[in-house]
């Protein structure tokens, strides 16, 4: 029996589109001694690639996914396995037409040619679609189909031809040896491979392999039903695999895709059908392939009728038979994003899982670059395996969220949409108080966070039109004018914000200073008690994060960052500590944080403590421990909302006592609890504060986001060389704030953008920056203090001119906007007097 090589630089598990693409790109990047194994035979080992419907619609609301898809399309084309067919997303309802208009926004934002067309135009290209059944469609001419098995074979063979790769099919992983937290060997049915890296790219089986090393890849195999019907005379008339555009019947969550003389109908409309990786049959026991599970007819029956409505001529033909029907398995994750990168649980365990055929080659390249250079060209931070909080790795959470999300695959999902399942996993100590106040809870990282408080509804009357209410349902979904009222109340008096969801970790030990100095852009050799806001850069000078670091002692620094990205930050820091002398401790669940901001903040805090909290005694950007009653409170004078105030840190168990004390004392000063709607959007957007994941990513430089400081510290830090270079270059793009000049739609309704919309010239032409990016709204929100709706967007430098009149496209209508800031100068309180009073 053939055996596997005794040693490998990396063992790639899986020979589907992802594993094949990975070995290709690793070999291209100079890797040798790669071993690729799959438990199935080649070229189709029986995973999800083998039964994929293989079509690609490039437009997705996510830029990251779109980038990966476009890169994948480019690679498929280079391999000669891409056939352009064009594709329609058809609407049967007005609500869907609105969604298609938002699809147009994404298409324009990502610079992909698309258009909205009439039913007649659909019928012209796909004559068997009944135009009476639809209202219109979103047409993308570059949609096409690929041969993913062929592409994978070519990529695998290219790596073999380089002599970089040994492929071992019909080889199953039986165990993984982990020594001192690091991969040491992979055991297989054909022998043992000594290696310090395993790359798990085996789709639905990935969790099972990761578990052998004690790590989690939180995905679940889930069913996507597909049938193939034929022979269809209308399809047989034209030669080739595909000669008609693909039709996505969005309102029925189905697609119809020609395959020769057959029509494939796929569905995301059935109940979520989840499996466990261990339930998937073996190759021997499977009737077809292991991931082509037995078809459950009842689940598909309703879709048949709907399909017939759309294509009556073709599908009600009694000679057109259902020849193939499967419950095909694919991988779903709790947040819908792929799972890429090195596990935070085991060194050397890499994941490239939950990836669709449309992203496969792009992911292969990105992860190969990541393994080689430490970071990929395309920013894939939303897919980082390190992002999961512990509860998000549990089977229960994965199943709950994927069940909830499954029918949203073709659904209309609001950008603010909240999860309904597996809630109340993490509650702050103030939760009951907040609930009593009618808090509307949004979730982040499992934390229940008040977005606004119904108890503040009375403010609406106080502030009247200044709350900028929204009449359009979509604009006001997952939103309340109370947010804006809370904002105004905070600016006039004071607001209290529950910030328990902060991810907090300490770096400590004799080498702690060296460690943080190496990781942070800002000077960290500061006085004890200083609080430093700093970008965290990668080697290319792109953003990995932005966060605050407090120096608590000569040898202790406390990092405070957000819930959404905090786990990735934790790994980023942990990976960059020296071997000795510095340690890291996650204190997220040890500390709760309460934000107190507004002109009355000092009065309130001063009334609770004997410490001197005057501007002179307690300067902005400093932190120190003060006493509030019997509590020792770490008070940090900074602000993300642009007002006087403090973040107050106490042990989790004392949070309620602190909250009550603040509320009691604050009452007389007009203190109100305010939600994350203020903290996360209104407060920050009128101050022009950038947020990681929207404005800040690995692609744009510190200079381009307007955050460079006059001096760069002399000490070396990650990304320093690139940052210095960026400072010398002309920026390719400039982050600007824009105000919407007129909100009135053609229908006479005032509309409010939510983010993601394209920014175009006054003539309606697209704006393209030096990165080749089309301008689009990165963040949008009310700026109640200004009475304006503010948009942030990267503009080509030539357009980044104060007062420049441009347009934003919302629901396919054009609204005038004006460039109001071309750097980080806040629109509200540009001199930051509020903070420093």
């Amino acid at each position: 029996m053939a055996s596997v090589p005794a040693q490998a630089s990396v063992v790639v598990v899986g020979a589907g589109i992802v594993g094949n693409s990975l070995v290709h790109h690793l070999a291209e990047l100079g890797w040798t001694d790669i071993v690729q194994i799959d438990k199935g035979p080649l070229p189709n080992p029986g995973g999800s690639t083998g039964h994929a419907s293989n079509f690609i619609f490039p437009v997705d609301h996510s830029r990251e996914i779109t980038d990966l898809t476009l890169d994948s399309m480019r690679q498929y084309k280079e391999l000669g396995v891409f056939t352009e067919s064009g594709g329609f997303e058809v609407a049967r309802t007005e609500e869907r037409m609105e969604e298609l208009r938002r699809r147009m926004a994404s298409a324009r934002a990502w610079g992909i040619e698309s258009s909205l067309v009439t039913p007649a135009e659909v019928a012209e290209k796909v004559p068997f679609v009944d135009p009476e059944a639809i209202l219109g469609a979103f047409w993308t001419p570059t949609v096409g189909v690929v041969d993913s098995v062929r592409a994978g074979t070519m990529m695998r063979e290219s790596a073999e031809a380089k002599g970089a790769l040994t492929v071992s099919p019909n080889t199953e992983v039986t165990g993984i040896d982990v020594r001192d937290g690091q991969i040491a060997a992979v055991y297989t049915t054909k022998g043992e491979v000594a290696t310090n890296r395993i790359l798990i790219a085996c789709g639905v089986w990935s969790p099972r392999i990761a578990a052998m090393a004690g790590a989690a890849i939180p995905l679940t195999p889930a069913v996507h039903q597909m049938i193939s019907v034929g022979p269809v005379p209308q399809l047989a008339e034209r030669p080739g695999e595909i000669s008609f555009p693909i039709v996505r019947d969005m309102d029925t969550f189905c697609y119809e895709r020609q395959h020769g003389s057959d029509m494939e109908i796929g569905s995301y409309a059935h109940r979520p059908i989840l499996h466990d990786p261990d339930e998937i049959p073996s190759i021997e026991a499977a009737k077809l392939s292991p991931t082509e599970m037995p078809f459950t007819e009842d689940d598909f029956d309703p879709q048949l009728e709907q399909a017939v409505e759309l294509m009556p001529e073709v599908l009600s033909n009694p000679d057109v038979e259902i020849r193939y029907a499967i419950n095909g398995l694919l991988s779903l994750t709790p947040d819908g994003a792929p799972i890429l990168g090195e596990s935070p649980q085991v060194k050397g365990l890499w994941s490239a899982a939950a990836v669709w055929v449309k992203e496969g080659p792009g992911v292969g390249r990105a992860v190969a670059e990541w393994m080689t250079h430490g970071l990929p060209e395309i920013d894939v931070q939303g897919a980082d395996i390190a992002r999961f909080h512990s509860h998000q790795r549990t089977r229960e959470h994965v199943r709950a969220r994927t069940s909830e999300a499954f029918n949203k695959t073709y659904g209309i999902v609001h950008p603010g949409e909240q999860w309904a399942s597996d809630r109340d996993v993490r509650r702050s100590p103030m939760w009951h108080r907040e609930a009593d106040l009618g808090a509307v809870f949004f979730e982040a990282g499992g934390w229940e966070r008040p977005q606004w408080y119904q108890s503040n509804a009375g403010l609406l009357e106080e502030f009247g039109d200044a709350v900028m209410d929204r009449s359009a349902e979509w604009d006001s979904r997952w939103w309340s004018p109370i947010i804006n009222a809370e904002h105004l109340a905070m600016r006039q008096r004071a607001g209290l914000v529950d910030l328990s969801s902060f991810v907090i970790f300490d770096i400590f030990g004799p080498a702690a200073l060296d460690a943080v100095q190496h990781i942070a852009l800002a000077q960290m050799d500061v006085a004890i008690g200083r609080v430093v806001y700093t970008p965290i850069l990668d080697e290319n000078g792109g953003f990995r994060s932005d966060l605050t670091i407090m120096r608590l002692a000569h040898d202790r620094f406390r990092v405070v960052t957000g819930a959404a990205h905090g786990m990735v930050d934790l790994k980023w820091f942990a990976d960059r500590l020296p071997d000795t002398g510095a340690q890291i401790a996650d204190l997220t669940s040890s500390w709760t944080t309460i934000g107190l901001w507004g002109p009355r903040a000092r009065d309130i805090l001063g009334g609770l403590t004997s410490s001197d909290v005057s501007h002179e005694a307690f300067k902005f950007g400093t932190a120190r421990t003060i006493e509030i009653g019997s509590l020792e409170v770490l008070a940090s004078r900074i602000s993300y909302v642009g007002d006087l105030g403090w973040e107050l840190y106490v042990p989790m168990e004392s949070g309620l006592k602190l909250w009550d004390a603040l509320m009691d004392t604050g009452h007389a000063h007009g203190l109100l609890p305010v939600g994350l709607g203020v903290y996360g959007t209104t407060g920050r957007i009128e101050k022009g504060y950038r947020a990681f994941g929207t404005e800040l990513d690995s692609e744009r430089s510190v200079v381009e986001v307007g955050m460079s400081r006059p001096k760069v510290k002399s000490q070396d830090f990650v990304g320093r060389a690139a940052h210095l270079r960026h400072r010398e270059e002309d920026p390719k793009t400039v982050l600007c704030s824009l105000t919407v000049d007129d909100h009135t739609s053609a229908g006479g309704e005032k509309r409010y953008m939510l983010g993601g919309e394209p920014i175009v010239s006054a003539d309606g032409d697209p704006l393209i920056d030096g990165h080749g990016r089309h301008s689009y709204v990165t963040s949008a929100g009310s700026a109640p203090s200004l009475g304006k709706h503010v948009l942030m967007a990267f503009l080509p430098p030539a357009e980044a001119v104060l007062g420049n009149r441009l347009q934003v496209v919302y629901m396919e209508e054009f609204y005038p906007v004006t460039v109001a800031s071309v750097d980080s100068t806040p629109l509200f309180d540009p001199d930051n007097e509020c903070i420093r009073r």
């Binding site: 029996m1 053939a2 199935g40 035979p41 080649l42 070229p43 099919p169 019909n170 049915t189 190759i283 021997e284 009737k287 077809l288 020849r323 193939y324």
Partner: protein
């Protein structure tokens, strides 16, 4: 006492499968549920515990001799003009007429054997087990789920009726004896002749593809990939002057006609060589090729059942390997 229904071929010789069934009966004395008390309904005196045979229609000397070599001590020869053409009901009744009241009545698991034993079971009030492969003190073992599993069972009653699965046992001769041949004066009921064969079309039955008679059969399974993936294997069939046989998945997917199916529910073949291309070796399929003298597997999966059960194997993509074999054959022809 164990009585075996013996099938003979057109030449009058005992069929291979009947020889298997007789051997099975002889080597499993524990089949006797009553400990060996031996009484035929209309005959007395045959040696206790021996294996008896039933032959319907012409009984050749060769058959008598063969049965003797197989250890059959008594032959019940049932001949009657109304039995000349097959009618299951009439034949079964004739067997029942001479069958023991206790003991075992069995036949090989051929279509005839199955049908006659089922009729006989009903007519004697006995229970029946089909496709038996073994018998021991605990009871019987038979194939279920197309041979992927075995059922352990016990039949109650004085008489049990069985069919023996093909290849459950290899025919084995013993010290030859001269069987006693008993003839009978039979009565055939008119009602039992309604299901009589009206005529037999021999040519039509000669399988068009030559599958069961070919010396070389090339088998193709799911590994072929698609309806259009048969070019290489068909060329090889041509080079070998053989026949194409396919797995159930292939006919199930509509890639090839059922007539080409080999296996438990398709043809059972016994060529000199069977070349299985891209067939993993599902038991249903293996059941159809057990008679192949040499088994060759071409498969990407070295661990597959087919490779493990083969005499020779090439690990690789069937299209590439078969293509190369074709080229090599052409090259050697010069």
């Amino acid at each position: 006492m164990t009585m075996v229904f013996v099938e003979t071929d057109p030449a009058g010789e005992v069929t291979l499968t009947s020889a298997e069934a007789i051997t099975f009966a002889r080597k499993n004395p524990q089949l006797l549920p009553d400990g060996g008390a031996a009484t035929s309904r209309e005959v007395s005196g045959p040696p206790s515990g021996s294996t008896e045979g039933v032959v319907i229609g012409p009984l050749s000397d060769a058959a008598v001799e063969s049965l003797g070599r197989l250890g059959v001590g008594v032959i019940h020869h049932l001949d009657h003009p109304d039995l000349a053409e097959y009618s299951a009901a009439a034949w079964a009744q004739a067997i029942v007429d001479v069958a023991p009241e206790s003991g075992t009545l069995l036949a090989s698991g051929t279509p005839r054997g199955m049908e006659l034993m089922a009729h006989a079971a009903v007519r004697t009030g006995a229970r029946m087990a089909a496709n038996v492969i073994a018998a021991d003190a605990e009871g019987l073992l038979r194939q279920v789920h197309g041979g992927t599993a075995f059922e352990r069972l016990r039949l109650d009653g004085d008489l049990q009726v069985l069919t023996i699965a093909g290849h459950a046992c290899t025919p084995e001769e013993t010290t030859p004896i001269t069987p006693e041949v008993y003839a009978y004066d039979l009565t055939v009921a008119e009602a039992d002749l309604t299901t009589r064969v009206q005529r037999t079309e021999v040519e039509a039955a000669d399988d068009a593809s030559g599958l069961t008679s070919a010396r070389a059969v090339v088998g193709a399974g799911r590994g072929v990939g698609s309806e259009n993936g048969f070019a290489e294997v068909l060329e090889l069939v041509d080079h070998l002057g053989g026949a194409l046989g396919v797995s159930r998945v292939v006919t199930g997917l509509g890639w090839r006609p059922h007539a080409e199916q080999v296996g438990q529910t398709g043809s059972r073949i016994s060529p000199d060589v069977y070349i299985a291309c891209g067939i993993s070796g599902a038991i249903q399929h293996m059941a159809g090729i057990e008679g192949a003298k040499t088994l060759v597997a071409i498969n990407t999966d070295e661990e597959s059942t087919m490779v493990q059960r083969a005499d020779y194997a090439i690990i690789g993509d069937l299209h590439e390997v078969v293509g190369a074999v074709n080229e090599e054959i052409v090259r050697r022809r010069g």
